[in-house]
Amino acid sequence: MKDEKSLFINIVALLILSFMAFYIYKVSIDTGSGIKITDSITPKMRVADKYLNKNVLNENSTYKFSQTAEDTSANIVTSVVVDYRLFDTTLEVIVLFVTILGFGFVIPKDKRRVKMPSVILYRWAPILMILMLMIGGYMFINGHLSPGGGFPAGAIISTAVLIGVLAGRKTVNHKTLKVVEAVAGISIFAIGIASFFIKGVFFQNFITGDRIGDLFSGGLIPVFYGLIAFKVAAELSNIYFEFYEEC
């Protein structure tokens, strides 16, 4: 009986999926007028075109390398993430915050037995941790120049904490993480509010006049990335602690 039911569901699922696939195929080969989803869009039509040319504010300006332009970073993706669409990114941080909060809220708090780590891990853990912290730090400091940024940096830093946890070394405690998380989160908005009072607009980059490509350029971008990195690191570390702290 049960098998029949699951067979039935399998068949239904296959039917649904094949129909959807057929529909997408039909849409993609549609020959009607207008823009089709198979067309490759002309660069001029995308908003990204203005991001690349760095002329969102001033339509006619053209960008020359290593000169002052719109106060964004050399890495255009970073520009989009932390400047043009900074608000999305802050919300994304909040999403992570909510889900980790929910995670801590609903996870059953059982007592678990934990094996003692091996001596090798215990001895080598600090070295690994320092290396990871360095890589993480590099990532968020250079996030506006090269691929990387706050989120990967936070993930890497949290891995350092994870190794500490695995090695049985108490690196940070729960309360500190909470404080770091909250302080980082609030500071992001605090900077936003500061820019509201300085420039009259939320989340406006109020440190201007840098040359693109320099280490200290992009205004607030490295600051935001740093805060995001700490926040993400604290949140992800929280997950590890949720699993391990109770033991």
Binding site: I9, V12, A13, I16, F19, M20, Y23
Partner: protein, 624 residues
């Protein structure tokens, strides 16, 4: 004259405030009804009632105006309703002394809605008041009692259904005619019928169904017995005598004029399709109501079916589409109002004193409640249509109208139903008031004066309208004249039929009746006296049926009063049971409900259903 509507509304709020103080609420209730009656009396002949509310609410591209206006036929209904309501409310003061619930608040709201219905100028106002009447009646019927819930639910579902149909009808009508005004849309509807007969008949049938539901005509004849058997007795009196007529009023002002003047396909050269539909529905109701009433053991159910039969007569009068039939129907509306109120007041009095409504458990109450008996006696004489009481004149007019249009089948149905009425009316009389008094009711007393006075007034009114029909016919004919019908104002004591030389003077009839009464009184006083024996001696031959494990009541002569007739009509009744049909609808809905609950209980297939939904959207985009 807007205070006519405002006073009931304000009284409702005041009553709600004093709901815990019975004496205050019922006195206020009486006063408010008195005021309404006085106001209605004062606008007789002037008909100056007009009030408009402009709303900013836009519908069909125009701002909606709600209004009440002068409407003589509405006045006719409203005035006599108010009269009866005033008497019932006087009765209620005594009746509700010991009851726990207080129905007066919601009842006052119903009176407000009723006045609104009678004076509504446009369909929207009419609909609003109509719906208000539906749900307020629900609360008035249940009145806090769980056993009344089933009947009330049945009534509520039917009236909501009817209101839904009416809303559709109003909207379609407004779409085609561009107006919500009742009289203007009647002319518009005639034009619709001329251009597209199907649509016109459809709209008319939607309206008709709504009104039939409220008046308990054939397919919807079940609700009175369900509702009347459990509701609070004084409110039920109001409902059975006054409220059941609210379906008749819109028929009189809208359906009858439209059907009468519309150019519809004819049948047999005497009437059109809808005319015959109305007639057959009326005939079936009259016959079915009579047959079913014969077999009831509960007195309230019996008179519920009697009401169905009487509604059938009124519809038969309409179906003739002659002015005499129309007058007869409207006359019968008031006659039935009066006599049904009288009968139900006596039933309420019986229930008040004995707490029992099963007829075979009662009996012999004539010895303890003579005034109640007298009222009941006059009421059933009137209901049977025997002169000189008031049921006679209207029935006579309706039969005359039917005969003059050669609608013989309907006339026969009417005569059959009137004759059948004797059977159930006599049964009720014999079972409740005559026969032997059960021991448990030895200490029953006559009702207190506040309840006796309205019953006495009822008797007077019944006799008055029976002997001097002009008290109703004069206002009626002048109202019809004011609306524009070609009628003459009736005289005080004579009625005119539609056949040749068919004028009847009720004075002469009354004298003959008085002579008959004197003769029978002489026979009673000089004849042999009856002997009293204990009740059980009569039908258990001295045995004690309880010893065999049987209830003694079952052997009462009035338990299976008309067994042979019942066996005769059983197959017919089973084949037309609408109750089973409605019950099956209810069951199907409940089954569906369980299925849906099962679907939502687990929620495992949520994503599957989600994808099916996506699929439906895709399919819809491609196929439809």
């Amino acid at each position: 004259m807007i205070e006519l509507l405002l006073v009931p509304l304000i009284t409702t709020l005041v009553l709600a405030f004093f709901i815990r103080y019975k004496r205050i609420t019922w006195t206020l209730f009486l006063a408010a009804n008195g005021f309404v009656l006085y106001k209605l009396y004062s606008i007789y002949g002037i008909w100056n009632l007009s009030y408009k509310v402009d709303t900013a609410y836009k519908i069909l591209g125009a701002e909606l105006t709600l209004g009440v206006s002068n409407n003589p036929i509405g006045w006719y209904f409203a005035f006599f309703s108010a009269l009866i309501t005033l008497l019932i409310s006087l009765f209620s003061i005594g009746f509700n002394k010991n009851s726990r619930s207080n129905v007066s608040v919601i009842w006052m709201l119903i009176i407000f809605s009723n006045l609104g219905i009678f004076f509504a100028q446009d369909w929207v106002t009419f609909f609003m008041m109509w719906e208000l009447m539906g749900w307020t009646s629900f609360f008035a019927i249940t009145n806090g009692k769980d056993k009344a819930l089933d009947g009330a639910k049945y009534y509520l579902a039917l009236s909501l259904f009817g209101a839904a149909l009416m809303l559709i009808a109003i909207s379609v009508l407004a779409q085609y005619t561009g107006t919500f005004q009742i009289f203007a849309s009647a002319y518009g509807l005639l034009q619709i019928i001329n251009s597209s007969t199907k649509l016109g008949i459809g709209i008319l049938l939607l309206f008709l169904t709504t009104f039939l539901i409220k008046s308990a005509i054939f397919p919807f004849y079940m609700w009175p017995q369900k509702v009347y058997s459990e509701g609070p007795e004084d409110y039920i009196t109001f409902m059975s005598s006054v409220m059941i007529k609210y379906g008749i009023y819109p028929m009189a002002i809208f359906i009858v004029p439209v059907v009468g003047s519309a150019d519809l396909p004819m049948i047999l050269n005497t009437g059109n399709v809808l005319q015959y539909t109305i007639g057959y529905l009326g005939a079936i109701s009259a016959i079915l109501g009579t047959i079913l009433a014969i077999f009831q053991t509960d007195m309230k159910k019996l008179f519920a079916y009697s009401s169905v039969a009487n509604m059938g007569y009124i519809l038969l009068g309409f179906s003739s589409m002659t002015i005499v039939g129309f007058e007869g129907s409207l006359f019968h509306v008031v006659n039935h109002m009066i006599l049904k109120a009288a009968i139900f007041l006596t039933l309420a009095a019986v229930v008040f004193r004995t707490g029992e409504s099963e007829m075979h458990k009662l009996g012999g109450l004539v010895y303890r409640m003579p005034l109640t008996f007298m009222t009941f006696l006059l009421g059933i004489i009137a209901a049977a249509g025997i002169p000189p009481l008031n049921g006679f004149g209207s029935k006579w007019m309706i039969i005359q109208a039917l005969m003059s249009k050669r609608m013989v089948v309907f006339a026969i149905a009417m005569i059959f139903a009137s004759t059948g009425a004797f059977m159930y009316l006599f049964r009720a009389l014999a079972s409740i008031f005559l026969g032997q008094l059960p021991d448990r009711y030895k200490d029953v007393k006559e009702v207190p004066p506040t309840m006796a006075i309205p019953m006495f007034i009822m008797m007077v009114i019944m006799l008055l309208t029976g002997v001097v029909p002009g008290v109703v016919m004069k206002p009626l004919t002048s109202a019809l004249k004011a609306v524009g019908y070609n009628v003459e104002v009736a005289s005080w004591t004579t009625l005119e039929g539609s056949l040749k030389n068919s004028v009847i003077d009720l004075k002469i009839v009354f004298y003959m009746f008085v002579a008959g009464v004197i003769i029978s009184a002489l026979m009673y006083f000089f004849g042999n006296k009856s002997e009293k024996v204990p009740q059980n001696d009569n039908y258990t031959a001295g045995e004690y049926p309880e010893e065999w494990g049987v209830d003694a009541d079952r052997f009462n002569y009035s338990y299976a009063f008309y067994q042979p007739f019942k066996e005769m009509f059983e197959p017919l009744l089973e084949s037309v049971s609408i109750d089973g049909f409605f019950a099956s609808i209810g069951r199907n809905f409940e089954f569906l409900s369980s299925t849906i609950q099962g679907l939502f209980k687990r929620g495992e297939g949520a994503v599957l259903l989600f994808s099916i939904g996506v699929l439906l959207l895709i399919l819809g985009g491609l196929i439809i």
